[in-house]
Symmetry: C2
Subunit: 428 residues, 2 copies
């Protein structure tokens, strides 16, 4: 059985690992990067608390000595479902079964200005670019010609009050509090403003009332200016205009207010659902197909509990991959497949030192959740993320970095590694 | 006293640290990067054994709470010695005293082809670019159309048998031996060749006969094809042509066969000596000037012991900076300055696991040196480099990475973080 998996994220990588060295299955795992990205910690790479390598795991290393998994680093150009082929910028790959696990990327909702000027944070490289820009703006502030330009350089606007926006603005607020004034004694950091814009009435709207309120409380305590019911109208690289006419001068806007599925070309438009996702049935079969699956953020699976599809979070991708691995083995033996059922293990977000929120279902009391915040939630958040990071060395380095940052109040990775890829490209 | 220091390398940074918080001296330290680079370990960044951050120290962090040192990240455009000003791409800086510590970069000796196609390794960013190219070539090898193309992708040519070339080719040979076959089981690594080309008759020619011989011996043991008396004629990106007509197909040539001083514009041509260095007297005063100094790789200081100038190595830069700090304090008090005398503490290079060479002068027997190689030399090499790296956390992370690499035979940082700076540039 030839199995091609598109994407080495939480879903694709988990599936390949579960089928690693299973006889009779030849797997090709295709990704445009040569590493797995641990998305939940992108914001810490962006705020110089972690190294990009700490949250990246080389895909090839995960399959050393594998008999049946082959990795290809390539961009998927299209899928030919009739010919059962994946066409990439490098080669074509024939499949018996195809799993689309291409995830999601930033949705600018068609706003070209936003796409050109705002920074997304949906990949490790984008997190690095954001880090560089964040630091470069303070370097530039030292040379600012006038007060207006200085203010633009010192204002940071984060758009989107979901976990990414909350975690990022909290981390930037801590940089402002603890480390930036030491780095730039010439600048007056009382002039630095961090805005978090959220279109709905609250931050972390998908979490419990209590966690949502806590997060707002924590953000304000850290000095983040949270604007709820704030809708962005436009951003021209110099200032943000809100729908209500408010203008915020800023040279750095981070857009964390929407994602859309990365649908490869060749998928019938009738199969595309809201959020640019692919409609799948309860077995993750793409609707109407018996040899193509979609899992994780790219999959749109509707059922009674989730009438608008499942949440686009890592646990769904991991659980779908785990079930799909079993179902593919069932399939080979002619056994019946099992339908997916999401086991919601709760949600959490961290805002800053000793400040996190956790919603956790109580196993013995179905339908109710435990909510807690503060230091204990923060410890749980850290422990769980450490467990989930791939690779013993990465786990250790993340732990040491966290310990170091906690003790010294200093994220020490404020390095601008500008890579001149024009030159590199000219050479390749 | 207004002191402007150009360059945060071994010399410039040492000088600024020694004068940190000294009353009456206002220091501006200008560098195009915002971090100090630990050059001796570039080759380990290039071969995925260390993170770029492990050998980079944020300049601003070195001067937290400093009363008199200010950092500026800028490109020096020229020096106006008449007006006593440094003009950068950002601002101009007036000085009473100027210290040029701009170091050296790769010398392609005017060969445009080489400059376009060969990879230099004289900065952290260049080491990262080299790492990416090294890995990308094996990814490309999986898609190679024919045997010739495959061979080009699997041959690596290192030019220059000094410490950089020896250490780099040794490290690549260990990747070939231990880790690449596991990453790319589809490729036949008996076809991978690592060439080290050296123009003179021996590798590490600046070291003792015994160390030089040892290094050759170790390289051959690791499977590096060392070609001495081999002069490169040209490189077109596809193949290397030697002066004797030999052709080596290769898509990756690393040029470590020459450096030239980074002389800022505004220095009188009559002051420029061999290697594009600035002539200085025994006090590191630029010849004929009484307020401009040059130290380290950029300085050309001739004396009886060094008729062709001092070696361009970190200890010279550090010792000149240390003396200059003292002399500047003498100067302020109207005391006499002390002439520079190089205290040669020896030289060392590592070729691979348990394989290094060390030449060390014996303090009680002037003019004689102790030479040793192998495991013991390797331990000394590691200990000394750990001591020299700036920052406790960096030291710790380098140590853990080395321990990990040693135990697992695996450098695990084979990550290609391509940063799309075109996009970033469009945004800034």
């Amino acid at each position: 059985m030839k199995l091609v998996i598109l994407g080495g994220g939480f879903g694709g990588l988990r599936l390949a690992r579960l089928l690693n060295n299973k006889p009779g299955i030849e797997i090709t795992l295709i990704d445009r990067f040569n590493y797995h990205q641990f998305q939940p910690l992108f914001y810490q790479v962006a705020t110089a608390a972690l190294d990009a390598s700490n949250i990246s795991f080389p895909l090839r290393k995960a399959f050393h000595n594998s008999k049946n998994v082959r990795i290809r680093m390539a961009e998927v150009e299209r899928i030919d479902t009739a010919a059962k082929q994946v066409i990439t910028n490098e080669d074509s790959y024939a499949y018996d079964y195809l799993v689309i696990a291409t995830g999601a990327s930033t949705n600018f909702f068609g706003n070209k200005n936003l796409e050109q000027h705002a920074f997304p944070m949906k990949s490790t490289v984008e997190a690095l670019q954001l880090r560089h820009k964040l630091i470069q703006n303070f370097e530039d502030a030292l040379h600012a010609n006038d007060a207006t330009e200085l203010q633009r350089l010192m204002n940071i606007v984060v758009v989107g009050g979901g976990p990414t926006g909350v975690e990022l603005s909290g981390a930037v607020a801590e940089m402002k509090k603890y480390v930036l004034p030491k780095d730039y004694p010439e600048l007056d950091f009382s002039k630095m403003n961090i805005y978090l814009l959220e279109g709905t009435g609250k931050t972390l709207a998908a979490m419990s009332e209590r966690s949502s309120n806590n997060s707002l409380n924590y953000l304000q305590r850290l000095g983040v200016t949270v604007k709820t019911n704030a809708l962005l109208q436009d951003y021209n690289g110099e200032q943000v205009t809100l729908k209500d006419g408010t203008i915020i001068p800023s040279k750095l806007v981070i857009w964390a207010a929407g994602i859309r599925g990365n649908i490869p070309a060749g998928i019938d438009p009738s199969l595309i659902a809201r959020g640019n996702r692919i409609k799948v049935d309860a077995f993750n079969f793409v609707q109407g197909m018996n040899n193509v699956f979609a899992i994780g953020d790219i999959a749109y699976m509707e059922n009674e509990a989730f009438p608008n599809g499942h949440p686009q979070v890592a646990p769904v991708a991991i659980q779908q991959a785990t079930l799909l691995a079993k179902n593919l083995l069932h399939l080979r033996k002619g056994e019946k497949a099992v339908a997916f059922q999401y086991n919601d293990k709760g949600a959490m977000a961290t805002v800053g030192r000793n400040l996190a929120v956790v919603d956790m279902p109580i196993p013995i009391a179905i339908g109710t959740k435990l909510h807690f915040g503060g230091f204990f939630a923060w410890l749980i958040w850290m422990g769980l993320h450490l467990m989930l990071i791939l690779g013993v060395k990465n786990r250790f380095f993340v732990f040491v970095n966290w310990l170091y940052n906690y003790v010294t109040y200093d994220q020490s990775l404020r390095l601008i590694f500008k890579e001149f890829y024009r030159k590199e490209e000219a050479k390749s």
